[in-house]
């Protein structure tokens, strides 16, 4: 099949960007979306043009590196699917596609479709961990964890940190990302000890990075390739309110 693409091209963070038109010819349904872009890029290189820069790595939907808005939807039209796992059979011959980078104040564009998501790393660095040293820990079965809790923690921990939630949110909020980590750790007994402190410092870091707040649009959940539930945002809010009742400075 043949498609028309409008792709965001921007040579650097401070340069103006624009949508440029490309034709993608002889695309087969078995190709992944990124393989379709590979084909376009090979053509561009051969004709002496600069290929489209885009982030990608594992191409199996788990590293979280790929990040494209397709026709206005982060990761494109298929539910619970990263761009790299989206296949061309979900498009028709003659389709026109608009391909853009993640759009958010906290994610400055580096080049074309590549953005800087280090703000998400800094939220984790603020406190998205259990402060345990290597070695000297109890046996893995010393603290039992109810299966339901372990499963809930896993549901939250599946976040791949791609940032689609931010790109989809009208407020550019990273609440789903932050909530997923807060909920994952707060649901486990090992993570409870620091739960109050963690939710406060992570929320603070999130706001400092320029992410907005949640106003219940649920766009994040709709585009999340791992289907992380907005219920975790409720959990984040509960944890935050609980923490605020603790004496100031006690966390």
């Amino acid at each position: 099949m043949n498609l028309t693409l409008y792709v965001w091209r921007q040579s650097g963070p401070d340069e103006p960007g624009r949508l440029e038109q490309y034709e993608a010819w002889e695309i087969t349904p078995d190709m992944s979306f990124l393989e379709m872009l590979d084909v376009v890029n090979e053509g561009l290189i051969k004709s002496g043009k600069e290929p489209i820069a885009f982030d990608h790595d594992c191409r199996e939907g788990i590293c979280g590196m790929c990040s494209q808005v397709i026709n206005g939807v982060p990761h494109g039209p298929q539910k619970k699917t990263t761009v790299c796992q989206l296949h061309m059979r979900h498009f028709k011959d003659g389709d026109t596609l608009y391909i853009e980078p993640w759009r958010s104040r906290a994610f400055p564009v580096i080049k074309d479709l590549i953005v800087d998501r280090s703000a998400l790393d800094r939220i984790i660095q603020a406190g998205g961990y259990i402060s345990v040293h290597t070695g000297g820990v109890p046996d893995a079965d010393a603290v039992l964890i109810p299966k339901a809790d372990a499963d809930t923690a896993m549901d939250a921990a599946e976040c791949i940190g791609c940032g689609a939630c931010v790109a989809a949110c009208p407020n550019g909020s990273a609440m789903l990302f932050t909530a997923a980590k807060v909920a994952h750790l707060a649901t486990l007994p090992q993570g409870r000890v620091e739960a109050a402190r963690r939710v406060c410092v992570m929320t603070e870091a999130m706001l400092k990075e320029g992410f907005g707040s949640c106003s219940n649009h649920y766009e994040c959940q709709a585009v999340c390739p791992k289907g992380i539930s907005v219920q975790f945002i409720a959990k984040l809010n509960r944890e935050f309110i609980k923490a605020s009742f603790k004496k100031a400075g006690s966390y």
């Binding site: 190709m31 590196m65 989206l86 345990v132």
Partner: protein, 637 residues
């Protein structure tokens, strides 16, 4: 040169403790004076950087991805082994050690493997303490499953995303050290060279992938945790960016490369659909716990699988290996799949595929149970193939997956260049000629959390900190060399893209240096690869310049190294006149078509020394002694 593995003497079970007792320590006040560079942030790199930072060393961690959390360890699905024996099914440290030695076809060091089995339990404890949400039963205890050819249930798992959860645990520990100020992160930075001063590793040269600038980084020791080289085959289950560059450039600076021919072809991947294919996707081999592998009995049978009656199916793994059946180790299962497809009995349009059938398990346990166990894998399969594996068998085919070979290291994980340590998949040490399922995660974390923190101190304790700065001429020369090489690449202005060269290299490697190797094929590869390399340096086309982000330039540097490394791999495969594990030579097989080892002549580690661009590398041997397990035929019947 005599290669000394520096394995401690005495009984295996006490060796590691005795060794640790004898090693030097660095006092807490002095640790911060030592700078350690860690390259790569997968399980080995992230756990090493976190643990070394915690101890108080001054750590700088590098990765080419935009975040340390994206390293390809994240994609490991199945699980991580440990000798906890929670299920009471007869497991022990010795049994895990024995299985790993045997699984590696008796081509790994006993002392290293025993230590790996010993620390395996501590890894699980550590991960649980970090908040890794392993699967648990209704009483709240950890669950185990049998995995990849093990007869005990020793594999811990977090749904089909164990690697992700373990890496996020290590990434969290790393992030904590970043916050504490003991680790400095350098994402989107690629190591281009190792800097050696007076015979000791003193730093690296790295390119900032965003600005294109090349920087020198000096340190007192360097840890390479840069993963494996399966992308030398072009199509593999590795991430697109996975490469051999850091390891290969260290090899060119004096680190020996050990057993490059030991590559693992994983039996359960989604088959290739066409020339556009950019990578192959693994389906966790845990699927083989409930799926049965078969092909039609007659060749060219192109009926749909469900139309082929039971008596016309050949469940070839169950037939040939009744003891292990569908759980036969990876190398054996892969070769068997190739064999039946070579006979013309493969399924799918390309004929390069076998059925992995869940109908029996669904009938016995119900679809819900199967969904609970493998739901995410079935979903992924459907996304890629548009087929529903609850209704029809999956089609699978082997694909390059893991590199057992890697830079040679001694028991302390130190390479032949003092001060250069190599961890995880990037080293050669623990898996011999074949890696068992769920052992890679174990090794990466063992090296990073528990081995390197002890062994690096022994080296640093004998080294004066901060002795070399980036003003040293070795750094300046290294930067110049890297810049020259980049400018040379950009100046070629040829006609073919980097991908075209990589694809051609891949097809040479897959055809002649893949699952079934022969003297003729390998000799042919050894003439084809240099010719392709020559063409690459004359005819590759790289758009853009050296400044700024240039993904084609990044790829070109990696492919240039693969074009040299592929030759080393083929040379090693040609020299090893035996079959063992992932290295199968058709000219060395038993009458039944099984691997024929030659312990009298090849029971050694082959470590190759770089002798110059146009010269042949020199082979050094480290003899392997087996005192605790008996060398025997690796039989899974």
């Amino acid at each position: 040169m005599i290669l000394d593995g520096k394995c401690p003497s005495g009984p295996l079970s006490e060796a590691w403790d005795n060794h640790r007792r004898q090693m030097k320590l660095v006092s807490p006040a002095n640790k911060r004076k030592y700078k350690i560079i860690v390259v790569g942030t997968g399980l080995a790199g992230a756990s090493a950087a976190a643990s070394l930072g915690e101890l108080g060393y001054n750590v700088e961690a590098f990765c080419y991805q935009d975040s340390p959390r994206r390293a390809h360890s994240i994609a490991a699905q199945g699980g991580i082994n440990a000798a906890k024996n929670y299920p009471n099914d007869g497991d022990s440290i010795f049994r895990l050690f024995h299985d790993t030695i045997k699984g590696g076809d008796f081509r790994a060091r006993e002392a290293n493997v025993y230590r790996l089995a010993m620390v395996s339990n501590a890894i699980i404890d550590q991960c649980v303490a970090q908040g890794v949400p392993f699967a648990r039963d209704y009483a709240g205890y950890l669950e185990n499953r049998s995995f990849g050819g093990a007869q005990v249930s020793r594999t811990f798992f977090a749904r089909g995303q164990t690697g992700q959860q373990l890496l996020l645990g290590a990434y969290a520990a790393l992030s904590r050290q970043v916050k504490a100020g003991s680790v400095k992160l350098h994402p989107r930075m690629e190591m281009l060279d190792l800097v050696v001063v007076d015979g000791q590793a003193k730093g690296i040269t790295a390119r900032d992938l965003v600005t294109g600038r090349i920087y020198s980084h000096a340190a007192d020791a360097v840890c390479l945790c840069t993963g494996g080289y399966a992308n030398v085959f072009y199509l593999s289950t590795n991430a697109m960016g996975s490469n051999v560059t850091a390891a290969y450039r260290a090899y060119k600076k004096g680190a020996f490369f050990a057993n490059p021919c030991y590559t693992q072809i994983h039996p359960t991947c989604i088959p290739v659909t066409g020339d556009h294919q950019s990578k192959l996707t693994l389906m966790s081999e845990s699927l083989r716990n409930d799926g049965r592998v078969w092909v039609p009995k007659i060749r060219g049978d192109n009926r749909a699988p469900h139309e082929i009656p039971e008596e016309e199916r050949d469940y070839y793994l169950e037939r040939k290996y009744p003891g292990f059946g569908n759980l036969a180790p990876r190398d054996i299962a892969s070769r068997a799949a190739k064999e039946v497809c070579d006979e013309g009995r493969g399924v799918g349009v390309s004929g390069r595929g076998v059925c992995l059938d869940f109908s029996g398990a669904i009938g016995r346990l119900g679809e819900e149970t199967i969904r609970g166990r493998y739901g995410n894998l079935f979903d992924m399969y459907e996304k890629i193939t548009n087929e529903n594996a609850y209704r029809q068998p999956m089609r699978i085919y082997p694909a390059p997956h893991y590199a057992m070979g890697g830079l040679w290291v001694d028991y302390n994980l130190q390479s032949t260049v003092p001060g250069l340590f190599v961890l995880g998949e990037a080293n050669f040490s623990d898996h011999g000629a074949n890696r068992l399922g769920a052992s890679a995660l174990m090794q990466g974390l063992a090296d990073g959390y528990f081995i390197i923190p002890s062994t690096i101190a022994d080296y640093l304790g004998r080294t004066e900190p901060g002795r070399v700065s980036t003003g040293n001429e070795a750094f300046i020369r290294s930067v110049e060399e890297c810049e020259t090489s980049i400018r040379r690449l950009l100046a070629i202005g040829g006609k073919k893209t980097v991908n075209e060269f990589h694809r051609e290299l891949g097809s040479i490697m897959w055809e002649h240096v893949g699952m079934a190797r022969s003297k003729e094929g390998l000799t042919k590869a050894l003439s084809l690869i240099p010719a392709l390399r020559t063409e690459f340096w004359e005819n590759v086309r790289i758009p853009g310049g050296e400044a700024g982000l240039n993904q084609e330039l990044e790829k070109a540097g990696r492919v240039a190294d693969f074009l040299e490394f592929g030759e080393l791999l083929a040379r090693d495969a040609l020299h090893r006149n035996e079959s063992c594990g992932g290295h199968f030579r058709v000219d060395f097989q038993t009458p039944e078509g099984e691997a024929l080892r030659d312990d009298a002549n090849f029971c050694y580690v082959a470590a190759w020394e770089f002798r110059g661009a146009e010269k042949q590398p020199e082979l050094h041997k480290e003899e392997l002694d087996f005192e605790n397990v008996r060398l025997c035929e690796r039989c899974y019947k």
